[in-house]
Point group: C2
Chain length 294, copies 2
């Protein structure tokens, strides 16, 4: 293990997937006076988005290129953030360092997402890097407890939120997903490989087809990390697009685990929620507690 | 309570939703020498499908018409079978008997499916009818243990089946759904309001988009009733269309709880599975045990 204090004086390597979160993290870390080097994944990030920061594009599977460049820039700490769809194997470009790790990488794909990311973290640590959670380097990106906009959940919404959190906790051991939609106590949708947006779009489609016999304005999107999940990666996240999806699905609002959900643009989310008449609430949850052994 | 033996001599009222199951049940019951009267729900069943049996169409919400006609035909025992999508409230035509029950019916919609059906069963029982499960009047419609076609699950498939059954059991208390898709230990999809076909089509779409990094021929659709579920209605069911969906989703096969899953056309299912190279397996499951209190 390297000395954390000395590592923290070095620039932070940010491996960037899609969406606005990586840039929000880069901005927050820079604002604290620490240097950053961005490693956007080819095909998921536009060159314009990273133009303002030192950066080098990497393809999925180029572990060797990534670790070589990160060392060249003097980085020891790494953060991985942003959406990376599970790629088709043919889209991955393998370099030699990756080929050496291939047996472990193949093993990753056999478990759930947690397993995949934990194994990837271990590979970086074996290479002498320290993998941190985005919230450790930029705590301002976490959703606080309470409402983000003007609206707050009704009593019925609170019951739906409690049921959603309980369902997520029950499903935790199966590494399924981080989101459910609950309306009037009825679980309408469970997120798995399709992701949160896919799940909420499905609820919108079911509602449009008359298959949800409840008026618009009923139902809550509930998101929370899996119990025991490694917090250094893959915390649930929300943004203005999540609010827009929830509006299209006719939901009353969005509840996320306070202190355990990442938000790139809190002001934009609050404004979108107010405009749509939805609540966005940070809630306490069992799942929001870090695991005992952490 | 009325005397079951005397009731069994009277014709059986079959409230028919969509699909081929209601007719399969009517045929099986007639084959045993018992009379049947079909009450197809308007809009879900074609007049041709029920032409061979005494029948009267009913609209959703016409409880009064249904119970009046069933009494006129001399029925005491009732079976509800077939797919009924949760209707939009505006599609329901309320008659007076239904209006009297409206507070209870509104309460139904607030719970999950189990609650809805259990309450509906109670309303019929209060009216002097006895609600039976389709499998009680026609046990030949249940999937037996073992393979239906020529193929059998591999060791990997068996691990996926075990994981799927465990996930369904964990979700049981939340009345979510009766199906999951598991591939290489990873839960790819969970069924809720969209139904089994909707869930399997989603897996096909994710696979088509390259978002499932596994070759075709991996993954199992696992279906089982919810633990503690009232077996008189809403047992999971499969048919040739389920096999066709599973084929499109690139799955290895389908596993269903033996003795607790309804199948309308076993020969057609076996033939479709053999043609597609899929297995269809009746498996023992915790969930397949009826509740202790039954």
């Amino acid at each position: 293990m390297s000395a954390p204090a000395a590592d923290a004086a070095r620039p932070l390597a940010i491996i960037c997937g899609g969406g606005s979160l990586p840039i929000a993290v880069a901005k927050a870390v820079s604002g604290r006076g620490r240097g950053v080097v961005l490693f956007p994944i080819t095909g998921t990030v536009s060159p314009e988005a990273v133009a303002g920061y030192p950066h080098a594009f990497i393809a999925l599977g180029q572990l060797g290129r990534l670790t070589r460049l990160a060392r060249k820039f003097g980085c020891r700490d790494m953060v991985m953030i942003g959406t990376v769809l599970r790629p088709a194997l043919r889209q991955i470009r393998l370099d030699w360092a990756t080929l050496r790790e291939l047996p472990r990488i193949v093993a990753m794909f056999r478990g759930g997402d947690d397993h995949l990311l934990t194994m990837l973290g271990r590979i970086f640590e074996d290479q002498g890097f320290r993998l941190l959670g985005a919230h450790e380097v930029a705590p301002e990106i976490l959703v606080p407890a309470g409402p983000l906009g003007r609206r707050v959940p009704s009593e019925r919404d609170r019951a739906d939120i409690a049921r959603g959190l309980a369902a997520l906790t029950a499903m935790g051991p199966f590494d399924i997903g981080q989101g459910v939609v609950v309306a009037d106590g009825h679980v309408l949708a469970v997120e798995a490989a399709e992701g949160t947006d896919g799940m909420v779009e499905r609820v919108a489609a079911l509602r449009g087809a008359g298959r949800i016999p409840l008026p618009a304005g009923r139902g809550v999107l509930v998101k929370a990390p899996k119990p025991g999940q490694d917090r250094r990666f893959d915390l649930p996240s929300i943004g203005p697009r999540t609010v827009e999806s929830a509006r299209r699905a006719g939901l009353a609002g969005i509840a996320v685990a306070a202190g355990a959900t990442i938000i790139a643009e809190p002001q934009a989310v609050a404004a979108a929620a107010d405009a749509a008449g939805l609540f966005v609430q940070g809630v306490a949850s069992e799942a929001a507690k870090p695991p005992e052994s952490a």
